[in-house]
C-alpha cells in the first residue's frame, strides 16, 4: 500500500502539501487527479513544476488517474494523491483504486457551503459523496497538516 496520502484539497499543490506533508511522509511522487487541470495545458505545466525538484508530479483525468493509482498502489514508492473534490475520489474508489483512508485537507467556503471544521467547508452534494465513500469502506478523516490529529468525518457529520 504505497498511496501514502489520498487527499481532497481544492488548492491541490500548495504550502501545506509541499512544505509539510511531502516532508512528513517522505513521498517521492505526487499524482493529481483533476479533469480540469488535465485539460488545461498551462495548469498542467504549472502543477508539474510546482513541486520540489526530484518529486515528479503527474496530472491525470479521472479515467487515466484510476488506472495509474491502481498501478502505483502495488509499488513500494510512496505516493501522494491529490484531488479537488470528493466526487473525484469517489470515482477513483468506484473504479477500484484501493483507498483505505481519504484525508480531507482543504475545501474553501462560499455560497451554499457549510463550515465543518476550520478551513473545511462542504456542500450538500459533497456531504453525500463523503458518506458514500464511507459506505464503500473508505475511512474519511479531516487532517489539515501532518502534525494534526486526524478527526473522523463521522464525528462531525451531524446527519442532516
Amino acid at each position: 500500500m504505497s498511496l501514502r496520502l489520498v487527499r481532497i484539497d481544492d488548492r491541490l499543490i500548495h504550502g501545506q502539501v509541499v512544505a509539510v506533508w511531502l516532508r512528513a511522509l517522505g513521498a517521492q511522487r505526487i499524482v493529481i487527479v483533476d479533469d480540469a487541470s488535465a485539460r488545461d495545458e498551462f495548469l498542467r505545466e504549472v502543477l508539474t513544476l510546482a513541486a520540489p525538484q526530484g518529486v515528479p508530479v503527474e496530472v491525470h483525468d479521472v479515467a487515466s488517474g484510476a488506472v495509474r493509482c491502481i498501478e502505483l498502489a502495488t509499488t513500494p514508492e510512496p505516493v501522494i494523491v491529490l484531488a479537488r473534490s470528493p466526487r473525484t475520489i469517489l470515482a477513483l474508489r468506484q473504479a477500484g483504486v484501493p483507498i483505505e483512508v481519504v484525508d480531507v485537507g482543504g475545501m474553501g467556503g462560499g455560497p451554499g457551503r457549510k463550515r465543518l471544521h476550520k478551513t473545511i467547508s462542504i456542500s450538500p452534494d459533497e456531504l453525500r459523496e463523503l458518506r458514500e465513500l464511507e459506505q464503500l469502506g473508505t475511512r474519511v478523516e479531516i487532517q489539515i497538516v501532518a502534525d494534526d490529529r486526524p478527526i473522523p468525518f463521522r464525528s462531525l457529520d451531524s446527519g442532516n
Binding site: 504550502g15 510546482a50 462560499g110 467547508s121 494534526d148
Partner: protein, 626 residues
C-alpha cells in the same frame, strides 16, 4: 481610502517612535546588563505598549511585514526590552524563545503555535521577573500554545465580516468592501490581542516568580536544563526542510566550526563562509541543479491586442493595488475565505479604473470576494496575471468569469507551494538563525559555546528585521509586476529556468551551516556524574567527552530529534517528553551533592544526571567579551 492610509501611517509612527528611543536605550542597557538579573515592575503604560506591540505583530499596519518581523520572538524580545529599558537582555531572551520556532510555518490558515504571543509575553515575563534566557524557553513555549486561541477565534469571527463585505459588493460599494476587509476584523483582533497580553504583562512576572519560588530547587534547575534541550526540537523542525542530500555535511561543518572555536567566531563569519561554500557547491558539487542555460520556455503570452484599448491601467493603479494587498492581505483572515476579502480589497483600484456601471462593479467585486489563499509575496504572480486579464476583459476581450476563476484557483496553490518554500521555510529561518546567533552573542572560555554569561546584542534583531523586509518586499513587488506584464509566460519561465531550485540549493548550504552553528550555541547537554578511572576522579563531560568531541551529546540529540521527526513523531509529544526528561534529569540521584544548595553558580557540580550550562569541574565562564 484616506483613512486607511492615515491609520497605516499611525502604525508606522508608533514603530518609528519606538525606534527613535532606541539609541538611548541601547546605551543605557550596556551598563544595566553587567549587574545581576534584576526584577522590573511593569507599569501600566509599559504593559499597554507591550499589548499594542503584540497587536501590531498580527496587524496589517506594517506593510504586511509584521508576520516576518514583530511576530518573531527575536524581534518581539528586542521591542519588549526597549519598552522595559533593557533591550540587550530582551533581545537575548527573545532569541532564546525564538529557537523552538525556527521551523515554524503557518500555511493555509493553520497555526501550530503562536510564536508572537510566546515572544511578546514570554520576554516580558522573563525580563521582568529576572529569570534568565534559558529558563524562559519552556515557559514561553507553553504561552505559545495558549496564544493559538486568539488566532483561531479570529479566524472564526472574521468569516462573519466576509459576509458583511458580500452585502457591500451587492450594492456595488467599492469603498464599503475595502472597509469591511479591515475595520471590523482589526477592531476584533485589537480587543482579543490587547486584553490578554496587557493583563499577562502586568501580572505574569510576579506570578511566574512566585511559582518558581514555590518549586523545589532541583526542578528549577531542570527548567534550565530543558532550556538547553528544547532548542533541539526547533532546530530539528527546521532541519526537516534543508537537512538532506548533499547539503547535510554543511550542518556538521557549521556545528564543529562553532565548537572548535569555543563560540568565539561570530555567526556573520559563519554565514560568510557558508555563502562561499554555497557558491562552490552549486558550481562543483550539486548535480541537482540544472547548470545548463534555462530551457527556453515557449512564450505563451497573451496575443497583442490589435485595437487601441478603451481603458488602460496606470502604473499608479498597479502600485496602489499592490500596496493594498501587501498591507491588507490578512487583515480579515477567515476560515471561510482565508484571503478572499483581502483579494477583493486589493482589486478596488483596478475595478475603479476599469469599470463604470454599477452592474460591472458589483460583478467584479463579487468575482474577487470568493475563497482565495496563496503565499502573499511570491504568490503575487497570480494577482498580476488576474489584473492583466481584467484589463483585457474591460477592453472587450472574450474573457469570462470562468477563465479568471480558473487562473486564480489553479495558480494560487502551486504559487503558495513555491512561495512558502521560499519565504517561510528557507529565507525566514536562515535570516532568523543569523539574527538569533548575533543576538545570542557567545561566551568564550568554556569547552563548548553556551548562553551563560552571554550579553544580548540588539543588532541581531535589527539586522534580521532589515534584511527580511528587503527580501520579502522585493519578491512581492517583482512577482506582482512581472505577473502583470508577462502573465503566464513569466510563471512557466521562472519555474523552468531552475532559478528557484538554484536559490533553494544554495540557501540549503548556507542554512545548514548557520543552523549547525546555532545548534552548537543553543543546544546544551552536559552529563553531571563523575567516574573514577585509575584512581582519578573524572567528570564524564569535562574529562572524557569534551576532549574527544566537544558538544557530541548535543549534536547527537539534535540528529536524533530530526530522525524522530522524520519518522512522524509528533513534535508536541516530543516536547512534553523532553521537558519531563530534563526536569527528572536534574533530580539529585547520586546523593545529596550540591543540587539542593542553590546550585546556580556555573561550574559547580551536582549529583544529578544532567547539569546546566557548563560541565562539572570546568572553570566558571568568564564574563562575556566586551
Amino acid at each position: 481610502m484616506q483613512r486607511k492610509y492615515a491609520a497605516a501611517g499611525a502604525g508606522l509612527l508608533v514603530l518609528m517612535l519606538l525606534a527613535a528611543t532606541m539609541p538611548a536605550a541601547v546605551l543605557g542597557a550596556s551598563s544595566a546588563t553587567t549587574s545581576a538579573p534584576h526584577q522590573i515592575t511593569v507599569s501600566f503604560l509599559q504593559a499597554a505598549l507591550i499589548a499594542i506591540g503584540y497587536y501590531l505583530a498580527n496587524s496589517p499596519w506594517l506593510f504586511g511585514l509584521a508576520f516576518f518581523t514583530l511576530y518573531r520572538p527575536l524581534v518581539a524580545g528586542f521591542f519588549v526590552g526597549l519598552i522595559l529599558g533593557d533591550p540587550a537582555q530582551g533581545t537575548l531572551i527573545g532569541a532564546a524563545i525564538n529557537i523552538p520556532y525556527l521551523g515554524f510555518i503557518s500555511a493555509g490558515g493553520n497555526l501550530p503555535a503562536d510564536a508572537g504571543f510566546a515572544g511578546w509575553v514570554g520576554t516580558t515575563v522573563a525580563l521582568a521577573s529576572g529569570i534568565d534566557a534559558t529558563k524562559a524557553i519552556p515557559i514561553a513555549f507553553g504561552l505559545g500554545l495558549l496564544g493559538t486561541i486568539i488566532f483561531y477565534s479570529r479566524m472564526a469571527v472574521d468569516s462573519v465580516f466576509a459576509h458583511w463585505a458580500d452585502a457591500r459588493a451587492e450594492k456595488a460599494d467599492i469603498a464599503g468592501v475595502a472597509l469591511m476587509n479591515w475595520l471590523p476584523g482589526q477592531a476584533f483582533l485589537f480587543v482579543v490581542s490587547f486584553v490578554p497580553v496587557f493583563l499577562l504583562a502586568l501580572n505574569g512576572p510576579s506570578a511566574v516568580q512566585d511559582a518558581l519560588n514555590a518549586l523545589p530547587l532541583w526542578t528549577v534547575n531542570g527548567l534550565v536544563i530543558a532550556g538547553g534541550i528544547l532548542p533541539a526540537i526547533g532546530i530539528a523542525l527546521n532541519m526537516r526542510f534543508i537537512f538532506r542530500g548533499s547539503a547535510i555535511p554543511y550542518f556538521f561543518i557549521g556545528f564543529i566550526l562553532m565548537t572548535v572555536t569555543h563560540g568565539s567566531v561570530s555567526l556573520v563569519v559563519i554565514a560568510a563562509i557558508g555563502l562561499c561554500l554555497a557558491y562552490l557547491h552549486l558550481n562543483f558539487v550539486s548535480r541537482d541543479a540544472p547548470l545548463a542555460a534555462a530551457q527556453a520556455a515557449e512564450s505563451t503570452a497573451a496575443p497583442v491586442q490589435a485595437q487601441e484599448p478603451k481603458v488602460r491601467l496606470t502604473r499608479g493603479d498597479l502600485i496602489r493595488s499592490w500596496a493594498l494587498w501587501t498591507f491588507f492581505a490578512h487583515a480579515n483572515y477567515s476560515y471561510e475565505r482565508l484571503q478572499g476579502t483581502g483579494f477583493a480589497h486589493a482589486m478596488t483600484p483596478i475595478i475603479k479604473r476599469l469599470y463604470t456601471t454599477p452592474d460591472e462593479i458589483r460583478d467584479a467585486l463579487k468575482r474577487h470576494l470568493v475563497f482565495f489563499n496563496t503565499e502573499p509575496n511570491f504568490g503575487n504572480v497570480v494577482h498580476g496575471t488576474v489584473i492583466a486579464m481584467e484589463e483585457q476583459r474591460a477592453n472587450g476581450a472574450a474573457i469570462d468569469d470562468d477563465a479568471i476563476n480558473s487562473v486564480k484557483s489553479g495558480l494560487m496553490g502551486p504559487m503558495a507551494g513555491i512561495g512558502d518554500t521560499l519565504s517561510q521555510s528557507t529565507i525566514t529561518p536562515i535570516l532568523l538563525a543569523l539574527g538569533i546567533g548575533i543576538a545570542g552573542g557567545t561566551a568564550s572560555g568554556s569547552a563548548v559555546p553556551t548562553l551563560s554569561g552571554a550579553t544580548g546584542n540588539p543588532l541581531g534583531a535589527i539586522i534580521y528585521m532589515v534584511l527580511v523586509s528587503i527580501v520579502i518586499v522585493a519578491i512581492g513587488y517583482t512577482a506582482w509586476m512581472q505577473g502583470y506584464s508577462r502573465g503566464r509566460s513569466f510563471v512557466t519561465e521562472i519555474l523552468k529556468s531552475g532559478t528557484i531550485d538554484r536559490v533553494l540549493i544554495g540557501a540549503g548550504v548556507l542554512g545548514n551551516m548557520v543552523l549547525g552553528a546555532l545548534a552548537a550555541t543553543f543546544v546544551v547537554v552536559n552529563l553531571a556524574p563523575t567516574v573514577t578511572i585509575a584512581g582519578a576522579q573524572m567528570n564524564l563531560q569535562a574529562s572524557i567527552i569534551d576532549p574527544l568531541f566537544p558538544g557530541a551529546l548535543a549534536l547527537g540529540l539534535v540528529v536524533m530529534t530530526w530522525w524522530l521527526l522524520q519518522r512522524r513523531v509528533n513534535p508536541l509529544a516530543l516536547l512534553a517528553i523532553y521537558l519531563v526528561f530534563a526536569i527528572v534529569s536534574a533530580y539529585p540521584f547520586f546523593g545529596p551533592g550540591q543540587a539542593n544548595s542553590g546550585d546556580y553558580s556555573y561550574g559547580a557540580c551536582t549529583s544529578s544526571l544532567l547539569h546546566q550550562y557548563t560541565p562539572c569541574g570546568a572553570p566558571p565562564a568568564p564574563t562575556a567579551q566586551p
